[in-house]
Subunit: 360 residues, 2 copies
């Protein structure tokens, strides 16, 4: 199988945002070096390592120099262009998670088809490449439904909720006439997510499911344990493992679920082939955070312990919320500040974890 | 009082070893930038920030450029030359912990005198600046005793154990005819330490005492909770606070104690005006590690929570022990690798924390 990277090896990270930064900090804890590649000169991850490349993801020359400097490439975001991933491999540098995970997660149609074929339930969906196809899909799937661009959506962007027939009119145009999927609206009781790690050797380890609350389509809190039955918990962990195995996945992945039917069933909302905002709680309530686990997985080390020692609530700090970090801390509270240069309303700038003794 | 440093400010750290590296990682978690100053071009802390100066501590020109770039200077080792500390202040940059803490901790005679005057017990001691003074001190203090150089001792270096009269002959010369102290040997039941933080505003917060086991005069394990009575624990916490207050200390400090007289009394062995190896357990068993707490203290933020959520054993990885980090982890185990370039026998290269549910 894949060889084990030794401490002293260099991990290349595509993307210099908070996830890249937290991955870099975790890599350093394991004695690994980090090279950050990002087009934005103000990337917060540039502050935590001496090795950086400021270049476009399409810049083959820069990619070549980067790939030749590092022992393995990973990424903090799923929208790494396919050509970038391909170039890394052409320059003989391993990429983890692999190109299949990227290709699957980048396109909602491919993603949903894949998950369904892996034997895990998703909401009913249909491909939509024109207004006519949208209208026909609405006939099949019914309303309410959600029209989503197949690519480049995040935090609720690239989506339109279709409640009644009038909303359907012109909806395809409103989303820029991009290829879309129509998803049947899932009336859910709660949203949960599972953070799972898998190594090239096929070892998997998952953390307890988190219960997520969104505000304005952006994650607000993750609470662990989630208020779900043990069988739903086991179903979620099983589904995450099925998807990770089917993708031959290497690294940490987030799987988001809707819990439906009086808290009794699950459908997958989406997967993220990377560390995930709803896993930031692991930093405070587990010995090994999702970031460190990702490094262990891609370095092909034995996975770390995912046991949770405490109950926990993670709260995102958006925009001016960030000013809380220098305030008097409440008991059992940890803050994480991403070191971003600019405070903008709604921008993710940090998070807070509050733990309490484990109840369940 | 001192102003509060905001995220985005730069902390200058004198010293680029593992403590500087772990301080830098903690600073990054709080959105602070870090500039490492160290003469050794292979300093492991250079790998975790883009800002570094490779220069001697005596290089005033380099110190000036460094001091002018950063918002505050701290250090990872107590042997920062007095002239270096003075220069930083001359260049109008705050230094924390302050020059008084450095001067006190750098000289065992000053240190012991200071602690005694603060009302905290130490072993009987005497100043020794010649073989004649040594012989006279032995008359007063008795044998066994330990002769220690007043300056630059660490991990058992610069010490000679005097068991019987023959050991006294030539002992002063053996330690290089440097100024020494003779300390009465303390027959102790166990060794403990307290990690305490203090802010410029006088707020203090201490972690639970750790019980330390040394091998070949180097820390081997720290176990928390220590097997001590509640009154010894309270005495240790009280003594640490007394010393921190008397020093007008700002930052995290380690205070080492001997527990004597059938586990009933304490004497201070020594203080370290910095984060301390016997506090590495806080990284795994508390929400806020000693490193993060040090950053909060010197940035004049409210101190973080020192509650311990788990029992813990920290084990140092010396020399080839470091190869354990990529082995299959035992349950509830976290490793930390310092990213040092060279493996040498006895060199501190990493540590392991193993936690278990809290019993006391």
């Amino acid at each position: 199988m894949s060889k084990m990277l030794q401490p002293g090896a260099t991990i290349g990270i595509l993307g210099g945002g908070q996830l890249g930064r937290m991955l870099a900090l975790a890599a350093h804890k394991l004695g690994l070096k980090v090279h950050i590649y990002c087009p934005d000169p103000q990337s917060p991850a540039f502050e935590v390592t001496p090795h950086k490349t400021i270049a476009l993801y399409e810049d083959r020359k820069a990619l070549k120099a980067f790939a030749e400097t590092v022992d393995l490439v990973t990424y903090e975001f799923e929208n790494v262009p396919a050509a970038t991933a391909k170039a890394i491999l052409e320059f003989n540098t391993p990429l983890a998670p692999g190109a299949k995970a990227l290709a699957t997660a980048q396109d909602r149609l491919i993603e949903k088809t894949f998950i369904e074929q892996a034997g895990v339930p998703v909401a009913p969906f249909a491909n939509v490449e024109s207004q006519a196809e949208l209208e026909s899909a609405v006939q099949t799937i019914g309303l309410p439904a959600v029209l989503k661009t197949r690519r480049f959506g995040y935090d609720g962007k690239g989506q339109k909720f279709l409640r009644q027939p009038e909303d359907v009119t012109g909806a395809f145009k409103e989303l820029g006439e991009n290829p879309c999927v129509l998803e049947g609206f899932v009336s859910f009781d709660r949203e949960i997510s599972v953070i799972i790690a898998r190594t090239a050797s096929g070892e998997t380890a998952a953390y307890d499911p988190a219960e997520n609350v969104h505000q304005d389509a952006i994650l607000h809190t993750s609470t662990v344990p989630a208020q779900i039955s043990d069988h739903v918990k086991q179903d979620a962990l099983g589904a995450a493992a099925k998807i990770a195995n089917a993708l031959d996945y290497v690294g940490v992945m987030g799987v988001e679920f809707f819990v439906t039917d009086a808290n009794d069933h699950l459908v997958v909302n989406e997967i993220a082939p990377r560390v995930h905002n709803s896993g930031h709680w692991t930093e405070a309530a587990c010995l090994i955070s999702q970031f460190e686990q990702h490094m262990r997985a891609i370095a092909n080390w034995p996975l770390g312990d995912t046991t949770r020692h405490s109950d926990v609530v993670m709260t995102n700090l958006l925009g001016n919320d960030i000013n809380q970090v220098t305030e008097a801390p409440t008991p059992h509270t940890m803050v994480h500040h991403y070191g971003k240069y600019e405070v903008r309303p709604g921008r993710k700038l940090g998070h807070i974890n509050q733990i309490s003794p484990k109840n369940s």
